[in-house]
């Protein structure tokens, strides 16, 4: 009887390319195992969860490699789920970033009084949402991916249950996130109403046909603004500093890198696949967001006294740089995507590295104040050098990785050869100088100031998982700067499969 059900409701199961969804399924499987382990083994399982989560993430890389080796673009569900080079690069990045976050979390979560299995289970669920986002070419898929990556993150931000500030962080993040989702969903409904289809390909056709229809313009603006929350662009960044400060630091690193990158992935797909012909609408909007984010983020960052809040505002400013190529995406096409991907990849390495040092130093100082870094060079020269590498990389000083990220952005906006592009380049140039000031402020604390009298100046003991995270991120930051071809090798050429 059950077998006849599909014919009654007229449902035919669409073909599923199991290879194409293998990364998502692997993450789902490992997440389930991690959660089940807790039920079966109870306390005895705690010691293995972080290792299991790490191995699970690395396993999810295998299908990505085989998919890349097979080389062809795969589509499912009528083009709602696409696996192309664009998706593969970003899926790989999300998984590697999550792996490093697991390394950062291992000791932090084990040593505090936290639930471990649930933490890693939620982390894997969130990563699954991100990995799905990279393939989503459909409004509903994008929305599902967004919620899948956000909801676990709301919980993780409040993971330090006993600390009211962590509760505040989670609640603020949740309320702002839901608000943003609502705005975005409204925009999506407008676009859907016009196109009668949720797939980006159909949206694109409808936008081209009805270009000047105010409904289209409103829909596009709402959708972009919704994601501006996610990437913490000005003036939608207000949740970031409080959430970053209150959340457990490894979660902050995860939000600052992976969650932000997911927002950019969605923006790239929407702008490039969803409404490429509406450049008159989205270009000025993104231009304003980019300039506002880089300038406001920088200016507020100048006054920060807490390292995590500083990183939050620096993240706002960096988001401005990442938005900049999208503000000329209509003029230069695919090049804009390459620039954003390059920036996101390099940003991931250097920002995770900076957070790894912050976590390592906080193990000793138990403080987030920038002044607690005073004289670090005297008793922890290794940490000081690594932190300097990451900070000056964020500032874009060659030969550290950040220079090439900034370079890619400059290249994209200058290539547009328009007044908007050149003015954006000049503003970005000035902003990269302002940014140096606060990054150098931290460096100055570490190198130039004397250690406070009462400070404990025995050398800092760093657990092996943090050492691994620091080593990976530092090596990547240097390699990307000295031989950027390791990145451009993947980002060159046609990345995204256009449905038309």
């Amino acid at each position: 009887m059950l077998s006849s059900l599909p014919s009654i409701v007229g449902f035919v199961r669409p073909d599923i390319d199991w290879h194409a969804v293998a990364p998502e399924l692997t993450l789902l499987g490992v997440g389930a195992v991690v959660t089940l382990l807790d039920i079966v083994l109870l306390e005895r399982g705690r010691a293995y969860t972080s290792a299991l989560a790490g191995i699970g993430l690395l396993m999810a890389l295998i299908p990505i490699v085989t998919l890349a080796a097979s080389g062809d673009t795969r589509e499912m569900f009528g083009g709602a789920f696409v696996v192309d080079d664009f998706a593969l690069i970003l899926k790989a990045m999300f998984i590697v970033v999550a792996y490093i976050v697991v390394l950062l979390s291992t000791n932090y979560i084990a040593e505090g009084d936290y639930w471990e299995n649930e933490y890693y289970g939620l982390l894997l669920a969130s990563v699954m949402g991100m990995v799905l986002m990279a393939s989503a070419r459909d409004l509903v898929t994008i929305f599902v991916a967004l919620e899948l990556l956000s909801i676990p993150a709301y919980l993780m931000a409040a993971w330090r249950k006993a600390d009211p500030r962590s509760n505040e962080a989670g609640l603020k993040y949740y309320l702002m996130g839901v608000f943003a989702s609502a705005i975005m969903l409204y925009g999506m409904s407008l676009l859907f109403g016009l196109a009668g289809d949720t797939r980006l390909a159909a949206i694109s056709t409808a936008v081209t046909e009805e270009g000047s229809n105010p409904v289209v313009i409103l829909g596009i603006i709402f959708v972009i603004v919704g994601f501006a929350f996610k990437v913490s662009g000005f003036p939608f960044h207000t949740w970031a500093p409080d959430t970053y400060e209150g959340a457990p630091t490894p979660v902050t690193a995860f939000l600052a890198v992976a969650s932000k990158a997911a927002g950019f992935v969605a923006l790239m797909q929407l702008v490039h696949v969803g409404f490429p012909d509406a450049q008159d609408v989205y270009q000025p909007l993104l231009w304003i967001l980019a300039v506002g984010s880089m300038t406001a983020g920088n200016l507020i960052a100048l006054r920060q006294e807490n390292i995590v809040r500083l990183m939050a505002y620096s993240g706002v400013s960096q988001a401005g740089f990442m938005l900049a190529p999208l503000a000329v995406a209509g003029d230069i096409g695919e090049e804009a995507l390459s620039a954003v991907i390059i920036y996101v990849l390099i940003y991931a390495a250097m920002n995770l590295g900076a957070f790894a040092v912050i976590i390592a130093v906080a193990r000793r100082t138990a403080s987030g104040a920038i002044s607690s870094y005073a004289g670090l060079f005297k008793y922890a020269p290794g940490m000081t050098i690594l932190m300097s590498v990451f900070l000056f990389s964020l500032a874009g000083i060659p030969p550290l990785g950040g220079w090439f990220a900034k370079f890619a952005v400059f290249r994209a906006v200058v290539e547009a050869d328009t007044g908007w592009g050149y003015s954006l380049a000049a503003i970005a140039a000035v902003n990269s100088v302002i940014a140096l000031f606060y990054y150098a402020k931290v460096a100055r604390m570490m190198w130039f100031e004397d250690t406070p009298e009462e400070a404990d100046t025995t050398s800092i003991r760093v657990p092996p998982s943090l050492v691994a995270a620091l080593g990976l991120t530092a090596a990547a930051t240097l390699l990307f700067g000295i031989y950027p071809a390791v990145i451009t090798h993947f980002t060159d050429g046609t990345l995204i499969a256009l449905p038309y």
Binding site: F377, Y422, V430, F448, A485, T491
Partner: protein, 523 residues
């Protein structure tokens, strides 16, 4: 040997210092002697390599063209390549770098500034050397940019950690000023890439490829480079970082700043801005010349107002770099030859003066000239060396300083034809006045510090003694070169002239004859 040098001659000395620094990183901090030895061995090896390059360069006997060219893929997707090469303009500056750095290691052998830590100090010095040599060798704009920026971080830390009282302010000021210029310079490089006929960053191809760019765009692109290079020189309104950085930097830092880092800016004008955008250069030249002469006078007056010996030498740098920029602004091969000579001479002489200032500071623990005096009595040899360098700095014929200043003044009598003769002749008069002021402040400085009798507080001070062995070893090569180049300037002019003629002549000729402008007008 020749083949080996032609293939590897530039890459090895560029990256050898960074390898030395990496080795030092692995050795614990308390083995100070070993660190010093590694640093010395690395820098001397680089210097020996430089000597081999010089011999091979003479043997190749092709001063005007690029020698030892390497051209390999680097970042293919943006068409940026690893292109290295030197000609008669860059080789002298590169050799100057290779000479100065080991001398700095020798000089600091037994007196590292507070907070000591030779490991970190010498590692920074080695990273600096890689950046400096690389900048002079790079023939690709992006590669040039990367090396140009590599020097910032080590210098920032050198000033900030080992500097004087006000070091934090000076370090960040130096960093921010330079970064501001180079960020806009990068935008200019990119604009050049997209506007030129060929999509390339290759400095060898760009002069031709950029000829087709509309003049109005050229002027803007040149403006970005002007900021980048002009701040580094530094030219008049952007010079304010220099006195602070020089005064606060440790002795070795000041020496490197004066001897090499400032030259990166002027070198950029000679190598990149002018050959690639000659038409825009002609538009900008009167303005650059004006800023140059303002710098000459302003620097000299600034010197006269100083009480601090090191600050005085710093302001004299502003004045001297004004002469170099004036030579460049004439857009004649004569003027540019003078400028290159001026760069080398200034590197030797001002480097020496900073060494001396550092040694005075070490003995008297002050650089306040009203408290100094009688150096000739207490440390006669050092006093005489100071006198010698002051003479060289004020442009006494027979010493190297003369050949930087005099031809620059002469060249502005007769600038390139497209430039207004009257303007440049008035610049010439002002610049000549500047030399008088230079004699004034240098002799005044000499009187204050070397002549007279020592102050009571220092009469029986055991710290005050004559030059030590390591000081002699560090100074002798510079003193000899100042004299040799002064007596026989052809040593340097012989190398620079063919290169200047070759790399600038195509365009300078066309600017001079007005061909570039006719072509532009025809568009």
């Amino acid at each position: 040997m020749g083949d080996f040098l032609n293939d590897w001659g530039l890459s090895i000395p560029t990256f050898l210092p960074i390898i030395g620094a990496a080795v030092m990183l692995l050795i614990p901090k308390d083995r100070e002697h070993l660190h010093k030895l590694i640093a010395l061995a690395t820098t001397v090896a680089v210097a020996v390599f430089g000597l081999l390059l010089l011999i091979q360069f003479i043997d190749n006997d092709n001063y005007g063209a690029l020698n030892f060219v390497v051209d390999k893929g680097w970042i293919d997707v943006i068409d940026s390549r690893y292109i290295m090469g030197v000609d008669g303009i860059s080789l002298p500056l590169m050799l100057l770098t290779m000479l100065i750095v080991p001398l700095c290691v020798i000089y600091s052998w037994n007196h590292f500034p507070e907070p000591h830590n030779p490991k970190a100090f010498l590692m920074l010095l080695l990273i600096l050397e890689t950046g400096m040599i690389g900048t002079f060798a790079a023939q690709d704009l992006i590669l040039f940019f990367v090396f140009f920026e590599v020097v910032l971080l080590p210098m920032y830390f050198m000033i900030g950690v080992w500097g004087g009282e006000n070091r934090r302010y000076a370090a960040i000021k130096f960093f921010l000023f330079t970064l501001f210029g180079s960020a806009l310079m990068l935008v200019s490089f990119l604009a050049l890439y997209f506007l030129a006929d060929a999509s390339t960053f290759d400095m060898r191809l760009l002069p031709e490829a950029a000829a087709g760019i509309a003049k109005s765009s050229q002027v803007w692109v040149f403006g970005g480079m002007f900021l980048g290079f002009g701040i580094k020189v530094p030219m008049f309104p952007f010079h304010t970082w220099l006195p602070d950085a020089h005064t606060e930097a440790p002795t070795v830092g000041s020496v490197i700043l004066a001897a090499v880092l400032l030259k990166l800016g002027t070198y950029g004008f000679v190598r990149i801005a002018i050959p690639i955008l000659p038409e825009a250069a002609a538009e900008w030249a009167p303005f650059i010349g004006l800023l140059a002469v303002i710098g000459i006078i302003y620097g000299a007056l600034g010197c006269l107002a100083q009480r601090d010996l090191k600050r005085l030498v710093a302001f004299s740098s502003v004045a001297h770099m004004g002469f170099v920029m004036l030579g460049i602004a004439t857009l004649t091969d004569f003027g540019i030859n003078a400028a290159v000579f001026g760069m080398v001479a200034h590197g030797l002489i001002t480097g020496m003066l900073f060494f001396l200032a550092g040694s005075v500071k070490e003995r008297y623990h002050t650089l306040d000239m009203s408290r100094l005096g009688g150096l000739l009595v207490q440390a006669p040899r050092m006093g005489w060396i100071l006198g010698f360098c002051a003479m060289a700095s004020l442009g006494l014929p027979g010493l190297a300083g003369f050949w930087g200043e005099f031809p620059a003044i002469l060249a502005s009598y007769n600038p390139a034809e497209v430039l207004a003769e009257e303007t440049f002749r008035s610049y010439m008069v002002i610049a000549a006045l500047g030399t008088v002021l230079a004699a004034g402040y240098l002799l005044w400085m000499l009187q204050k510090t070397a002549f007279g009798t020592p102050r009571e507080e220092f009469v029986n001070d055991p710290h005050v003694h004559d030059a030590t062995a390591s000081e002699y070893m560090a100074w002798a090569p510079l003193l000899i070169l100042i004299l040799v180049l002064g007596v026989y300037p052809h040593l340097l002019f012989g190398a620079t002239d063919p290169a200047v003629v070759n790399s600038l002549s195509d365009c300078l000729d066309s600017v001079t004859s007005g061909a570039c402008f006719d072509a532009a007008a025809g568009k």
